[in-house]
Symmetry: C2
Subunit: 296 residues, 2 copies
């Protein structure tokens, strides 16, 4: 596990350095928007999605540094979704990763615009991946199409919609899965797909890495639901029990903690099976247990 | 003028048919988001920006139908900006184009997400322009980079930020121009640029068509400011005087109506001069006077 943690740390440093490079300077005019964008992007976070882009590229033979623009673009999309999700008309959360949420720091209008700005700027940065040597133009276009689909109304946004509309309503298992696949797994899946596609992986491998992404994506959400119930407030950086407060539909609400843990374990096992035929899969194998046993 | 109006009408029909094709079906699940997206996209509008993409492509020798994905993507970006701009934390407007605004119809959360969805889906649709015969992949990538820059934190969003932060504050002429160039002219400029780039226009012509866009873009905003003061409520579709209500900085507030009209006329003249060397420029010549004399 030490080996994995070192690798995650090394990638995280690369991502954060690149994010700093790809985000506009906060002294530009009007500085409020650039400050708000940077505040939320650098408020912490595991950088899981950009690391998946990089490691997936590496798995298929491309140096991980070559996909940094796409990796950073996906992290910007993830950050925008958190800023908008925290707004008063959505989950109305005051804290995120132990810090005041964007709208608590900058006001609702600037937070709304900072989310819009990060989402838009993400596509600028991803499109610029074309300028990296060895990256094919048609791969970048496929990646843009796939990322916009995964994060748009047919992807992540539809999960947010179901999440909001089903507050206080009892939903069935199928709806819970739909919501979590869209809200969480889609962006994790497309991170893996994008790295592989830029590295020139074939259709068969693209499907496999996506299947792995779906398994760990839902597993990731189940663990999130569990941590929101019994996690350590100081470690997860936001009040425990916010799902209950908002009367959210979660795996814990539907199945209870023990059953949810079993489900997460089952997904972990399935994710490992997907990897069987891959070479150099150690990172992705270890990552499953790391995400399964995480405390934040 | 009759000839111009026929041409605008013909393009508008093409754009609206294509928008219907490129937007997800509203019977998909969860239907609320697709209904909200379509409600705002089909709430009316001149379709000026997509028409500029098409006519600019045509000016440089490409059939206008070939750039419909990019044209529709830009209209989706324009619509997202209106939905978010109308939200309570922004301008808090109840009517747009004679109809209740998106959040009045669907609630704030769904309106926020419908804006996010349109912005994200726009890049999906624009990326798909690569599948049109005769369109080059590197041109589509340049167009995506340019559109995301023009509508992101270095473009349109920065204009919105200045607009919001300068409510009730006296700003100088330079700041007013910055705000209106970013808020309005950037998307008009990039519409013209995108059509020309997809048609293979050279660097010199790309700069010229952008300069034309900047002139008519600011002119367009000045006329907007004038109509908000003395327009016909029934024709413009929203209450006259909303700028005064929100204590907005406008050309009318800074220069008065007569001086603003003179400024608009000066920009119209300059826009015509930019066109001098172009062939087949009739549409773009007539468009200037049409936009200058518009009543909505």
């Amino acid at each position: 596990m030490k080996e994995l943690e070192n690798e995650l740390y090394e990638c995280k440093i690369l991502v954060e350095r690149a994010l700093d490079k790809f985000l506009p300077d906060e002294n530009l005019y009007p500085s409020e928007i650039f400050k708000a964008m940077r505040y939320s992007v650098f408020a912490g976070g595991k950088r899981l999605r950009p690391i998946l882009v990089m490691k997936s590229a590496e798995l298929f033979g491309l140096e991980k540094e070559k996909v940094l623009p796409t990796a950073c673009g996906i992290e910007m999309i993830h950050t925008y979704s958190l800023i908008h999700d925290d707004l008063p008309c959505m989950d109305n959360d005051d804290f995120r990763r132990g810090k005041p949420t964007c709208h608590k720091m900058f006001g609702e209008a600037i937070a709304l615009l900072a989310g819009d700005a990060l989402l838009t700027h993400a596509f600028y940065v991803i499109a610029k991946n074309k300028d990296v040597e060895g990256i094919k133009e048609n791969a970048v276009l496929d990646v843009i199409a796939k990322i916009s689909k995964a994060s748009g109304p047919l992807g992540m946004v539809s999960g947010q919609v179901v999440d909001i509309l089903s507050e206080g309503v009892n939903i069935d298992e199928k709806t819970l899965y739909f919501m979590d696949v869209k809200k969480t797994a889609e962006l994790i899946k497309v991170s893996l797909w994008a790295g592989a596609r830029l590295a020139g992986a074939d259709e068969k491998d693209l499907i496999k890495i996506e299947t792995y992404g779906e398994k760990i994506g839902i597993m990731f959400q189940i663990i999130d639901d569990i941590l929101d119930t019994n996690g350590d407030e100081k470690i997860i950086g936001k009040p425990v029990g916010s799902d209950i407060k908002n009367d959210k539909n979660t795996f814990v609400k539907m199945f209870g903690i023990e059953q949810s843990k079993l489900l997460a374990n089952k997904l972990a096992k399935e994710a490992k099976e997907v990897l069987v035929e891959f070479k150099n899969k150690e990172f992705f194998m270890m990552l499953i247990d790391y995400l399964l046993n995480r405390s934040h």
